[in-house]
């Protein structure tokens, strides 16, 4: 499990990320943020082998337009 973020920690991270969110929004965001961080932490525990990440980099890739 990842260390659970507190509301105060989330508030600081939001500010550092350049986001402007209302207090009510922060409170509603917190459970989802902790769930996502825990999910990533669970994956980390599974990664015993020195595997390289899957990637899509291609030296021939051209600029895309969306």
């Amino acid at each position: 499990m990842a260390t659970e973020l507190s509301l105060d920690e989330l508030r600081k991270m939001v500010s550092r990320a350049g986001l402007k969110l209302a207090e009510e929004e922060l409170q509603k965001l917190l459970p989802g943020v902790n769930r996502s961080r825990n999910q990533a932490a669970e994956l980390r525990q599974l990664m015993a082998d020195p595997l390289e990440p899957a990637g899509t980099f291609s030296a021939n890739a051209r600029k895309q337009k969306y």
Binding site: L5, K20, L29, R35, Q39, A40, L46, Y66
Partner: protein, 466 residues
């Protein structure tokens, strides 16, 4: 021919009728436009109806066919596109206030290919906002409703594509799929949808949700129509860095070879037999579908579901990290323009570390290996498409959705091709889909199994009570 009969022709039947001049492209387009006018107020499947363009394209197709210039089976066929395919000169909203007035100056490659094949564009279809989250209840356009019961969700994110096809408003559609967004609405609306192999069909001009998980693909009312549409949009595209230079087979001739001797792996153990796994009604219909496949000559092999179950965590981590990266500036500058559900889910990506993302990509490598190892024992996998039938809007809990397994997203993580085909109805008359998964670039095998199953059943002939 009666209007309803004309509306519910398959794309292939409509194309054959046009060629035989039993009806004209203008008649087909007018039939669809009248039906959209009559029914779409309660379904909300279209965001933009391009009636003038459709009639102009239909008249052109009519002239060409009349002059003997036959372009192929899509000429004069009315289709519609999920509203994240860029269409030159036509508003493309992603069902969001963020892009409410965006008029692209280019066409998505897949859309351009359909137009070059002579298809007639009826309009742009509703979806989950930016192909993420749940039904968009606070977006500038209403949430799409399920034609089988408008109190229920049509599934997403290609909601409008599923609903419009089931309601007989168009003959074919394109959706996109990052975690199940073609297959889930296909299952919930009783139509067929295929997510091809990653790289098979171009993503160029399709507004991204997650670059490494996004797939484009067709949806239609039967398997043959899906095969025809995939043949039209597949192939190498230098504008898409993930595009694969792999030959496109004649899917329609290969699909009629039968399935005798094929081994189909079912990853039930440790995945969809767990608590909060598959809804009992869905599992009953799925088991009946397996029996049908056995009666057609396939063998069912139970395989370990653990790597499939773990895939969701990696898929979700990659998805929210990439989605946040793509939308970061907009979320910093005007977060209020996003709907609540999609904004909260995207913002979760802001608080993952670089190491979290890389770990998920490493897990992707490992899970890809583990899942593909099964192809030494079986040629295909089968699962229910969705863990449960379409829920009612009134009782839907987006948080509870995250606790259920996803039977679709392991195949976005691995890039494996997967199709959903109708496999029955609940006692409440809501459709349920069967998912078949194949090895990379083996879409022909998917069409073989789905077509054989479809020919042995009647589910695809059912019509919603509109």
């Amino acid at each position: 021919m009666a209007t309803d009969e004309l509306s519910y022709l398959t794309l292939t039947e409509a194309g054959a009728g046009l060629r035989r001049k039993e009806f004209s492209p203008v008649e087909l387009a007018e039939t669809c436009l009248r039906r959209i006018e009559a029914l779409d107020d309660k379904l909300h499947s279209f965001i933009t109806v391009t009636a003038d363009l459709a009639l102009q394209q239909a008249r052109k197709a009519e002239q060409e066919i009349g002059a003997g210039n036959y372009r192929g089976p899509l000429q004069g066929i009315p289709i519609a596109l999920k509203d994240l395919y860029a269409t030159k000169g036509i508003r493309t909203t992603c069902h969001s206030a963020v892009l409410e007035d965006w008029i692209p100056d280019h066409d998505a490659t897949a859309a351009a290919k359909l137009m070059e094949a002579g298809a007639v564009l009826l309009g742009k279809l509703g979806m989950h906002e930016f192909a993420f989250g749940g039904p968009s209840i606070d977006a500038p356009f209403p949430a799409v409703r399920n034609p089988w019961n408008t109190a229920h969700v049509p599934g997403g994110s290609s909601s409008g594509s599923g609903a419009a096809l089931a309601a007989g408003l168009c003959y074919g559609s394109l959706g996109s799929d990052t975690g199940g967004s073609i297959r889930t609405p296909s299952s919930h609306c009783g139509v067929v949808g295929i997510k091809p192999t990653y790289g098979r069909a171009s993503r160029y001009g399709v507004v991204p949700l997650s670059w490494s998980l996004d797939h484009t693909g067709p949806m239609a009312r039967n398997v043959e129509d899906c095969a025809l549409l995939l043949e039209a949009i597949a192939g190498y595209d230098s504008k898409d860095p993930a595009s694969a230079d792999v030959a496109v087979p004649d899917f329609r001739s290969e699909m009629k070879q039968g399935i005798k001797g094929l081994r189909i792996g079912v990853p039930r153990e440790h995945w969809f037999n767990e608590q909060k796994g598959t809804d009992p009604e869905t599992e009953t219909l799925f088991n009946a579908a397996l029996k049908t496949l056995v009666s057609l000559g396939a063998t069912i092999v139970e395989i370990d579901g653990r790597p499939f179950a773990t895939a969701r965590k990696a898929n979700q981590t990659i998805l929210i990290a990439e989605a946040y990266a793509y939308h970061e500036r907009r979320l910093q500058e005007a977060p209020e323009k996003f709907g609540t559900s999609v904004r909260r889910r995207m913002l979760e990506g802001a608080f993952l570390s670089a190491a979290d993302y890389i770990t998920a990509l490493r897990a992707r490598s490992a899970l890809n290996e583990q899942i593909r190892e099964n192809f030494s024992k079986v040629e295909l996998f089968a699962t229910p498409t969705a863990p449960r039938p379409p829920e009612a809007f009134a009782t839907m809990d987006p948080n509870e959705q995250n606790l259920r397994p996803s039977f679709t997203n392991p195949f976005n993580l691995t890039g494996l091709p997967a199709i959903s085909v109708p496999c029955g109805f609940t006692p409440g008359n809501l459709p349920v889909g069967l998912q078949i998964v194949a090895q990379p670039f083996h879409e022909a095998s998917l069409f073989r199994v789905a077509h054989a199953y479809e020919q042995a059943t009647e589910w695809h002939r059912h019509r919603p009570p509109l």
